[in-house]
């Protein structure tokens, strides 16, 4: 589904991603783990077209998307749940959700958006209960749900999640992940999960990559990564 080859990404003259190659097969949950500043968010931002200077190739469903404007990338079926949620706090839950329908919204035909919102309320009942509330007044966990829900509004085939666990209580994180896994089972959504919380990420993924100072240093299925002493020591608190 997604095939990244030798991707480089720059902030001005600083090379933040160095020859990154990775792939995601339809229906998989793949994770990318790495420390702060290792290039995780840069990679997601590059995939969705938010980085200026890039080299290499990103094929999504066989078509090149490197250099394509972010708005078109969303239309092609990729949605990002950004780090720190990035909600519009002074707007209501429902307004935030409608913003997510941008790729297909039309003033004359609101049916698709309305149906989709109903579906979201089934998935996250708490958002239905608080649809008129301002996003900024929601709790952290609810805000994260709203951020995910907004991304799902565009009906993506590939969902990119940037540190969804950040700043949330373990119990809340668990429930968000349960919802995601459940969703993946029902809809064959493909998920690329970027996390600092390696234990959590490895628990839910099938395969993963490890990034360090802008390069992928390791990849493998879940068990291979859990067996690797380097991963154990650096990310899982093992000896």
């Amino acid at each position: 589904m997604l095939r990244v080859r030798s991707l480089k990404s720059y902030y001005e003259s600083i090379c933040a991603l160095k020859a990154v190659s990775l792939h995601i097969v339809k229906g998989e949950i793949v994770t990318l783990i790495g420390a702060n500043g290792s290039g995780k968010s840069t990679l997601l931002n590059t995939i969705v077209g938010l980085m200026g200077r890039t080299e290499g190739s990103i094929l999504f469903e066989g078509r090149e998307i490197l250099g394509v404007p972010p708005s078109d990338i969303v239309k092609r079926g990729i949605a990002l749940v950004p780090e720190g949620r990035q909600l519009f706090s002074p707007m209501t839950v429902i307004d935030n959700l409608i913003l997510g329908t941008y790729p297909y919204y039309s003033i004359n035909n609101k049916k698709r958006a309305v149906d989709r919102i109903e579906w979201i309320y089934e998935l996250f009942p708490v958002l239905g209960e608080r649809k008129r509330q301002l996003a900024g007044t929601l709790s952290g966990g609810e805000q994260q749900m709203l951020s995910i829900a907004r991304a799902l509004m565009s009906d993506p085939r590939l969902l990119l999640l940037d540190e969804p666990s950040m700043g949330l209580a373990p119990k809340i994180v668990e429930s968000i992940f349960e919802t995601l896994i459940d969703l993946k089972k029902k809809t064959d959504l493909t998920i690329f999960l970027v996390e600092q919380n390696a234990k959590l990420a490895l628990d839910v993924c099938e395969r993963g990559y490890v990034i360090e100072t802008g390069q992928i240093i390791l990849s493998g299925d879940r068990d291979e990564l859990m067996n690797n002493k380097e991963v154990l020591r650096a990310y899982l608190g093992g000896d």
Binding site: S6, A19, Q215, D223, E224, K229
Partner: protein, 433 residues
């Protein structure tokens, strides 16, 4: 003859190319950071692992040779600290000082997966009783196959290298269905059958998987006919991992290379130039998943060629032809290159089966001489002198015709040439002691 790992063994070529690129980039980065030999080499030639954008970039790196590994003995080529190593194995030392190879937990898991692929491709299932007659211990054959066979769920008899009589008793009484051994051992088994020490009807054998030494098609035919078996070939070498590098499927036409773990190339052994697919040359392997002992463009010393045509079995992995011989076994006779396999073919054709034989090279008055010592069976030996003469003349004529020189031929009694696994067929008396 099933496919053990559908995902990787039948993966489309573009997907496989993507996996290989990802794993190669990670491996090159890792050896640059962790192995001082590669760190210095890359610096010296100005090779930046971060500039690798395609598999072709591999060509920019010089070959790794066995000599490099010897200099690094014991641990200098390891890419992980010893506390991460869970196993050590050693090369047999056929061509000099043995080497130590280490494995991490993941390396052992991968190795197990790969020998399971070999066994499954050869027809082994969980319902089989498998006798592993490779030596256990530092040699990779025994433990390598043992883990794979257990993973499949077969009933494993870890026979190792106990004597042949004991092995045959076990084979008969335990009702072994699958035999995993070296061709030397298989030849001994056939001899025992010839000598009526055991009859095929007493055995339950249905397949044999041979590896660790070169062997040939006529031996396969002989063994398959005499014992009514499927006999398949497999290949591996300790420096790279052990058995599991490549393996035959039910088609028996070439050995599939586990390309999701190894990138193969074939080069001209003299010039180091990359040869096109189909041409015979030295096999070079780059490991792309090894953690403890990764090697970049390692010259295996084995002569083969690559076949890229799709295989009817459904595996997308490239195939190599059975190993023709080792570079070290190459005989240079009065300036001409020859391999034991060429003599073996002539002997097989003239005699009708592959005999045990030895090539002795010497020098008289600055001219290289070759003596072919051929072990003939008791039947032939007891026969009229006419048969012996026919063999001698036949071999001499064919050698003259195909290799353009006249050898000296000596027929010797059965069991007079020592059989030892991995033993070279060539004794070169020209080499100074």
């Amino acid at each position: 003859m099933s496919i053990w790992n559908e995902k990787y063994e039948t993966m489309s070529r573009p997907e496989l190319g993507q996996e290989q690129l990802e794993r190669l980039q990670q491996t090159l980065g890792r050896v640059y950071r962790r192995v001082s030999y590669y760190h210095e080499l890359f610096n010296r030639i100005g090779f930046d692992p971060l500039e690798v954008t395609s598999l072709d970039d591999l060509k920019k790196i010089p070959f790794t040779t066995k000599d490099t590994l010897r200099i690094a003995y014991p641990y200098d080529m390891f890419a992980v600290p010893l506390r991460e190593v869970v196993r050590m194995q050693s090369t047999s030392g056929t061509t000099g000082q043995p080497l130590i190879v280490g494995y991490t937990k993941n390396d052992v898991e991968h190795w197990t997966e790969l020998t399971a692929r070999v066994l499954a491709a050869g027809g082994v299932t969980k319902d089989d009783i498998i006798q592993i007659s490779f030596p256990y211990g530092l040699f990779t054959g025994g433990l390598g196959f043992h883990y794979g066979a257990e993973k499949i769920g077969a009933s494993v008899i870890p026979c190792s290298d106990t004597d042949i009589d004991n092995q045959i008793t076990i084979m008969r009484d335990y009702r072994t269905t699958s035999l995993c051994c070296a061709p030397t051992f298989a030849a001994l088994l056939l001899e025992m059958i010839d000598e009526k020490s055991v009859t095929p009807a007493e055995l339950s054998l249905r397949r044999a998987l041979l590896g660790a030494e070169p062997w040939n098609e006529s031996f396969r035919n002989e063994m398959e006919e005499q014992l009514d078996l499927d006999v398949t070939d497999n290949y591996g070498l300790t420096e790279i991992m052990g058995p599991g590098v490549s393996y035959e499927c039910g088609e028996k036409k070439g050995l599939h290379i586990a390309e999701d773990h190894f990138i193969p190339e074939v080069i001209d052994p003299k010039t180091g130039e990359l040869l096109p697919h189909g041409e015979k040359g030295e096999l070079v392997i780059t490991t792309i998943t090894k953690e403890a002992y990764p090697l970049i463009r390692y010259r295996t010393g084995d002569i083969t060629s690559l076949m890229t045509e799709p295989c009817p079995c459904g595996r997308s992995l490239v195939r190599m032809t059975r190993v023709f011989g080792r570079i070290d076994d190459m005989i240079i006779l009065n300036g001409q290159n020859m391999f034991p396999a060429q003599f073996e073919q002539i002997l097989t054709e003239v005699i009708g089966e592959t005999p045990n034989y030895q090539l002795v090279v010497s020098q008289e008055d600055n001219i290289d001489q070759l003596e072919i010592q051929i072990e003939v069976s008791q039947d032939i030996f007891d026969d009229e002198i006419k048969t012996l003469n026919r063999i001698e003349r036949g071999v001499a004529r064919e050698v003259k015709e195909r290799l353009d020189f006249v050898p000296r031929i000596t027929l010797v009694e059965p069991r007079s040439i020592v059989r030892r696994m991995k033993q070279s067929r060539v004794i070169d008396l020209r080499k100074p002691e």
